[in-house]
């Protein structure tokens, strides 16, 4: 398995390199070989790899990265050939059709999936985010930090539904995008560190079913993050629905905030 960290010098602002580390380690811990290739800008993007990770970046570097990827062409060819892509934050916007440049005007993305990003009109979305993503192992916990909003085209499904935080920001509480073998999200930085089920989902797209992995450190982290968010979230729900505890009983809103089966990874 080869995992490419695409342009860590341009798209690595939020510890994004961690995602490639997580993917490779989770395979190694299961006795399989895995290699992380850091591919800085200015050199060709490796053509044959199994998973490509794109991270977050500032406006200038984001535009540079998009232009370089379009010119290089390797990423689009690899995806056509069946490679998996994890695109985070600025990377999410880059894999779409358009995004806003530093001047606010639209720039061409790489066009791997049918999404369009623009500058939001409200406040920048900064803070903890919680997403319900049944297809991706349950609850996704993360941190978001973006000013852009992203509209999904007809053939693109959201990654999940926002329970707390902003996500795509276009109404409808959608977060991220999934189309074919491209998975994109605003849960920035090392999103896979907090969400091993999502990491395993990406790995399984390449190697097929994997045995479960005991992971007590990450279980404790998830419990803590869900509890920390749950306190504020429940409070907001109560305020919104006008009665104590009311929000939790609303259909679909009553998502358990304590880790549940599926959050836990069974001991081997």
């Amino acid at each position: 398995m080869r995992v490419v960290d695409v342009f860590p010098d341009l798209l690595g602002t939020y510890g994004d390199g961690g995602n490639a580390v997580v993917l490779a380690q989770r395979l190694r811990w299961r006795g399989m070989g895995a290699e992380v290739v850091r591919a800085p800008s200015g050199s060709p993007v490796p053509a044959s790899a199994d998973i490509y990770c794109l991270g977050g970046g500032e406006d200038g570097p984001q535009a540079q990265a998009a232009a370089a990827l379009a010119e290089d062409g390797s990423l689009a060819r690899a995806v056509a050939g069946g490679a998996v892509v994890l695109a985070v934050c600025a990377g999410f916007q880059i894999v779409g059709a358009t995004f806003a440049g530093a001047d606010g005007r639209p720039r061409a993305g790489v066009g791997l999936i049918d999404v369009a990003s623009r500058r939001g009109t409200g406040r920048r979305a900064v803070g903890e985010i919680l997403v319900e993503a049944p297809e991706m192992g349950g609850l996704l916990t993360g941190y978001e930090n973006h000013g852009g909003v992203t509209e999904l085209g007809p053939g693109v499904a959201p990654l999940g539904r926002v329970l707390a935080g902003v996500g795509n920001g276009t109404g409808g509480a959608t977060e991220g995008a999934v189309a074919g073998r491209v998975v994109a999200t605003y849960l920035h930085g090392p999103v896979l560190a907090r969400n091993p089920a999502l990491a395993d989902h990406l790995l399984e797209m390449v190697v097929g079913p994997l045995p479960a992995l005991a992971d007590p450190d990450v279980e404790e982290l998830r419990s803590e993050r869900l509890a920390a968010l749950g306190r504020g979230w429940r409070r907001r729900q109560r305020t919104a629905s006008g009665g104590a505890g009311e929000g939790r009983r609303h259909g679909g809103r009553g998502v358990p905030l304590a880790p549940r089966r599926g959050d836990h990874l069974e001991a081997r």
Partner: protein
């Protein structure tokens, strides 16, 4: 007291009175609140209070508190010195320090990176040291590159200002090159992830050994006039000055080089400046070794790092395996609320050392350590974390003196450092 215009003459003493009241109420040193009151009463207070002082400013992402401390010790060889030694590096902190300055004192002032332009404008310093710029506090959206542009504007158009700048950091070099008078010092910048793109034209910078250059616009590493060579500071003019420091690490020797050249720009001879710095053993508790008494005395060396570049430097400094290490992480507002940066820190270098994770975000750290293949335990209580590491040290190697366990290196980020030091002192550590 110096003669101040009427408004500042009233405002500054009132600020001092508030500071004293704040101290009596047990709310810290009170310096910042006093400065805030002064500034609220008289927005021109900083400019007024700075008058009559020859000031040297120090700014940068990492090392500014230490460099300011070293500069203060150098300037003290020539006369009284005013300095904001508590790290209160915003205008209110500067006002608080200057309000208590002896007449004519020279100044060693630490200034927040984002406030440098304003402060230069207000205080008209003799010289400014620009140390480095790298990512810090991810939730604040202060882009490294835009800070560089602000620095550039801050030093431009000031023919009398002497800038002492680190030529190893491309963003600093680009910013400083706008100044009329620059002395370049090779102070190092191992952290290159924020300087991959040319700050002038965005092309990719080429690094070759210690040299760097932009193939597109020609921006390149300026030739330094001072650099570190073995145990000495070497000078382009041909001289070499050997010096010793009480502070550990090559990056502190680089801080000393910057401070010495800045002191020289303020009239203190280089060798005298460097000699004076040897007496600095800790800076606001950083690098301090505290001992917890007991049947097995426990020694802890306290190290502070706030961002990936700072952590990277300290990971090179800690004792080699199998010595244990304590790592303490918080994510309060002062630290930055987003701990994603933990994944930019090369914790893999700790392999072979038993690690203890503590602080409010110890669980994020534990996951990071797990993926870095570093053996670790997670301990909530800060002092207990140090004790656990001490016990690991004792079992890992023989105690090095009379039953005391080996010194435990403790690396913490900003508020975790304050908490941990306070907790150790509260349990009687000295």
């Amino acid at each position: 007291m110096r003669h101040l215009p009427a408004r500042s003459a009233v405002a500054a003493p009132l600020g001092l009175a508030v500071a004293a009241a704040s101290r009596r109420l047990g709310r810290g040193s009170g310096s910042v609140i006093g400065g805030r009151v002064t500034l609220a009463l008289d927005p021109g207070a900083l400019r007024q209070l700075a008058g009559g002082h020859a000031l040297g400013l120090v700014s940068g992402t990492n090392g500014k508190t230490t460099t300011t401390r070293l500069l203060a010790s150098a300037l003290a060889t020539a006369g009284p010195v005013v300095s904001n030694q508590t790290g209160s590096n915003l205008p209110a902190g500067l006002v608080a320090a200057l309000a208590q300055a002896p007449a004519g004192a020279a100044g060693a002032l630490e200034v927040d990176e984002a406030w440098l332009g304003h402060v230069v404008e207000e205080v008209s310093p003799v010289a400014v040291a620009l140390l480095n710029l790298s990512r810090d506090q991810l939730d604040r959206v202060s882009e490294v590159r835009s800070l560089g542009a602000r620095w550039r504007a801050a030093v431009a158009g000031r023919p009398r200002l002497r800038v002492v700048a680190n030529c190893d950091d491309p963003i600093v070099a680009w910013a400083a090159s706008a100044a009329s008078q620059v002395t370049w010092v090779a102070a190092g910048q191992a952290w290159r992830l924020d300087a991959g793109g040319c700050p002038a034209c965005e092309a990719r910078i080429r690094f070759e050994g210690e040299d760097w250059s932009c193939p597109s616009c020609g921006l390149a590493r300026p030739r330094p006039e001072a650099w570190l060579e073995g145990e000495s500071l070497a000078l382009a003019g041909g001289g070499r000055i050997g010096f010793r420091l009480g502070l550990p690490g090559r990056f502190n020797r680089a801080n000393a080089a910057m401070a010495a050249v800045l002191a020289a720009a303020m009239g203190v001879e280089l060798d005298k400046a460097l000699e004076a710095m040897a007496t600095v053993g800790d800076v606001e508790g950083r690098y301090q070794v505290l001992t917890l008494a007991g049947p097995r005395p426990l020694r802890a060396r306290l190290l502070l790092a706030k961002n990936p570049a700072g952590w990277s430097e300290l990971l090179d400094l800690v004792s080699p395996p199998p010595a244990p290490v304590v790592l303490a992480i918080n994510a309060r507002v002062a630290d930055g609320r987003d701990p994603s940066w933990l994944w930019d820190v090369p914790f893999e270098r700790l392999a072979g050392r038993p690690a203890v994770a503590t602080g409010e975000r110890r669980r994020d750290l534990a996951v990071r350590l797990r993926y870095a293949d570093v053996c670790h335990q997670v301990v909530e209580d800060l002092v207990e974390a140090v004790r656990r590491a001490g016990a690991e040290g004792t079992s890992a190697g023989s105690p090095d003196d009379g039953g005391a366990s080996a010194t435990v290196d403790v690396i913490a980020n900003y508020t975790a450092f304050q908490d941990l030091r306070a907790a150790l002192l509260a349990r009687g550590a000295r």
